[in-house]
């Protein structure tokens, strides 16, 4: 019974979050703590966006290409953020907790993967 209630609650929350995060065109948002450092759409194939996010410990390097977004280097000791690999779907995140950098993908790549807005 406990198991069924847990599973039902989790699946409902998952569906709700997926719906919340999945509206609008796909955008990569990069935060340092509460501050939005940059916001990019996924680039066209062959183009690469390289972003340096300054956090508590130093610079985290982030690569965005048409396949997804990932940390390419980080000053943290554990390097979990790098081993977390590349992500590309709306509702996915990659976090570097020691450096307090968060990458969140919002929107859906199916509804419209590219547009020209960029905030930096």
């Amino acid at each position: 019974m406990l198991l069924l209630i847990s599973l039902a609650g989790i699946l409902y929350a998952w569906q709700w979050i997926h719906t919340e995060a999945g509206t609008g065109p796909a955008m990569v948002e990069i935060y340092h703590d509460e501050v939005l450092l940059a916001q990019y759409p996924f680039p066209e194939p062959g183009k690469i966006i390289h972003f340096e996010a300054e956090g508590e410990l130093g610079i985290s390097e982030i690569i965005i290409d048409s396949e997804g977004v990932h940390f390419s280097s980080s000053p943290c000791r554990t390097q979990y953020c790098i081993s977390n690999g590349r992500h590309s779907e709306g509702g996915e995140i990659i976090a570097c907790v020691p450096n307090r950098i968060l990458i969140a993908i919002k929107g859906s790549r199916i509804n419209g993967s590219h547009y020209d807005a960029m905030v930096e």
Partner: protein, 175 residues
């Protein structure tokens, strides 16, 4: 002058010896988990929680709570993460899991160790996220990752609870 040092009773000594044995088991599992290949930045199988469950079933709630706290402190010291964000997240999760498990053990009559473990695993994962969001990265987008990891926690909590129940039954048979 005949001053004798007060000696603890045999049952008290036995209780301490069992607690220390479980602490050693918990710390060993904590270090072992840290050495495992990462299954993701937030996810561990929670094997050390088996020792907390054993302490709960064999020694009682207060011994289990103390074990959960000391396991994180000693384990973090040994793997070199003491007082880092990893330690704070781990301690918050461990203490929350212990409180949730003890509460369930006391308030839900007839609950099994598997049910207790499941509640502990869910509390552990949820409080880790709340800790990160409130202390380190103030972004609600963090919670996007919570549901899939809670699903994995249900799975591992179930397995760990089953293992703990099996060990307790074997220990009772051997007594």
């Amino acid at each position: 002058m005949n001053r004798s040092i007060p000696r603890p009773s045999l049952p008290a000594l036995e209780h301490k010896a069992k607690w220390l044995s479980l602490l050693l088991l918990a710390v060993s599992l904590h270090v072992f988990e840290a050495a495992l290949p990462s299954l993701g930045p937030w996810f561990k199988p929670g094997l050390a929680n088996i020792a907390t469950l054993l302490a709960l079933a064999i020694l009682g709630p207060s011994a289990a709570a103390m074990l959960a706290i000391w396991r994180v402190i000693v384990g973090s010291f040994l793997i070199g993460t003491l007082f880092t964000p990893t330690f704070i997240i781990s301690l918050a999760g461990g203490v929350a899991a212990a409180i949730a498990m003890l509460t369930a053990w006391r308030l839900l009559p007839g609950i099994t160790l598997i049910g207790v473990s499941l509640i502990g695993a869910l509390a552990h994962m949820t409080v880790q996220f709340v800790t990160v969001e409130s202390l380190f990265i103030h972004q609600q987008a963090l919670y996007y990752l919570l549901p899939p990891l809670l699903l994995l926690s249900v799975f591992t909590g179930w397995i760990n609870g089953g293992l703990a129940a099996y060990i307790v039954s074997q220990l009772k048979e051997s007594d």
